[in-house]
């Protein structure tokens, strides 16, 4: 039932408008202090964000926005 209902789940407009910086702040700091975006290059951030997406079940949209923020900020 859980999986059948997934495609019908709607994200609210407020959540959709969240920036990568806000999502980074909200999600990463719940467990650990986040390193400086400049600590890694674009390719490394891509790998690290995928690692954290899988580990913490971030949504695809969240991980893409966070990745873009980190790559734009390094």
């Amino acid at each position: 039932m859980l999986f059948l209902s997934l495609p019908s789940c709607k994200t609210s407009a407020a959540v959709k408008e969240k920036s990568g910086a806000i999502l980074w702040s909200e999600n990463c700091s719940r467990c650990h202090y986040s390193p400086d975006p400049e600590d890694y290059n674009d390719a490394q951030w891509e790998v690290i964000v995928m690692h954290m997406r899988v580990r913490t079940s971030l949504t695809e949209d969240e991980s893409q926005k966070i990745l873009k923020f980190l790559q734009d900020s390094n």
Binding site: S29, Q44, V47, V54
Partner: protein
């Protein structure tokens, strides 16, 4: 004769016109092979482009124990490189190797090793040795760089001679996980199948009869463990997460009297993390409770007499921390103040049974976002009524 010559001429002409086509195919073949190698049609996201990074942590521990014969001790160092590979847009491999000293011995082990494939935006499947997604502590908090105190709560770090209450150590298996929004709130889930726990029948370690070992890397029976965790983040800023976990498994060795003994484990966890400008601080609260029940069975004590007990145990912890990150003083904002209370209530009539509780009060000073110096005072009551008291120091870096 003339007819034969005409036929030969026509064949030669046909061959001549066919030659460029064969040559073109020969030229195209390597390109086709290359393309098919790079982009297999069966699975999306396997571009063949590899990206990797090494992250991880290292730490060094010191303890002052006023009740011990050896009052001061540099007890443990550890180094855990985590290798992470992206093998395409959807395929991903991660492995953490641990090197650490423990009671004077140098240990090496694979903490986890897992290959994951992102099926779609809602589902990722992974297989290998995994940090068991039971509760939140093991998967997200336990790493020494992330745990704000120099020690773990009672019962939540695997130690020799101390029973595991629920799967707190890595297991071999497969999991399916994902996250999605429902309006303003968010949910995440993990479902897993693993080798499950192995019952210690007490034949070689009498005092541990009835405990479970989850590092069951070669299964002791055909039954597999089924478990998972559902997390719910009701607030749009993701500050609150509530989770529930379960794990069911037959735990006895095959072809023994314990073969069909069942274990049932449940866990509930909560996380609250928010910045309060009025306090100029970040507040972080975490808690988790684990319940474990193993079917009643007969075991043998040291004299060879049969005994039995209700094999029910639970552990819990709560932790509150405050970091004044918004104050202007550049030294003060690097401090974090932490308090934690943890309890282990093991099956009363077991040889390993008893009640222990401990309070930890600590300060963490962040020299940078990657380097922390942590000092904690711990005081409590051990399993057999022995009071414990110590000062712990940990110097840790994450990279």
């Amino acid at each position: 004769m003339k007819k034969t010559n005409t036929r030969i001429l026509l064949l030669l002409l046909a061959g001549f016109y066919a030659m460029p086509t064969v040559a073109q195919e020969m030229e195209q073949e390597p390109k086709l092979v290359q393309t098919e190698t790079k982009e297999p049609k069966d699975f999306k996201g396997l571009s063949g482009i590899t990206k990797n990074v090494i992250i991880g942590y290292a730490y060094s521990d010191f303890i002052y124990d006023p009740h011990s014969e050896i009052k001061t001790n540099f007890t443990r160092v550890g180094f855990s490189p985590t290798m992470v590979w992206m093998l395409g847009e959807k395929l991903f491999f991660e492995s953490q190797v641990e090197f650490y000293t423990d009671s004077g011995n140098i240990n090496t082990k694979i903490e986890y090793l897992k290959l994951s494939y992102i099926i779609n935006k809602y589902m990722t499947v992974g297989m290998g040795k995994m940090l068991t997604p039971f509760g939140l502590y093991t998967e997200r908090i336990e790493a020494p760089f992330i745990e704000k105190l120099p020690n773990a709560p009672l019962g939540l770090r695997q130690m020799d001679g101390v029973p595991n209450i629920g799967p707190i150590s890595p297991e071999m298996g497969v999991d399916l996980r994902g996250g999605f929004y429902v309006g303003d709130s968010k949910m995440n889930y993990v479902l897993y199948v693993s080798n499950g726990a192995k019952l210690n029948d007490g034949l070689s370690e009498t005092h541990l009869a009835g405990t479970l070992n989850y590092e069951n890397f070669f299964d002791n029976n055909s039954n597999k463990s089924f478990g998972g965790r559902i997390g719910y983040l009701p607030l749009s800023n993701s500050s609150l997460e509530i989770g529930g976990s379960w794990s069911y498994s037959e735990v006895g060795d095959v072809k023994t009297a314990y073969e069909h003994l069942m274990s049932k484990a449940y866990s509930f966890d909560v996380t609250y993390h928010k910045t309060y400008p009025a306090l100029k601080s970040m507040i972080d609260f975490k808690g988790q409770v684990n319940f474990l029940e193993v079917d009643k069975a007969n075991y043998f004590d040291e004299k060879g007499d049969v005994y039995s007990f209700e094999n029910r145990s639970n552990i819990y912890y709560v932790r509150l921390s405050l970091r004044p990150a918004l104050v202007h003083n550049k030294y003060m904002k690097r401090f974090e103040f932490i308090g934690r209370y943890s309890v282990a209530d093991f099956a009363n009539d077991a040889l390993w049974g008893g009640y222990a509780q401990r309070t930890d009060l600590g300060i963490s000073y962040w020299l940078s976002l990657r380097i922390g110096l942590r000092i904690a005072y711990e005081k409590g009551d051990g399993l057999h009524g022995v009071s414990t008291e110590a000062i712990l120091v940990r110097f840790v870096t994450g990279f």
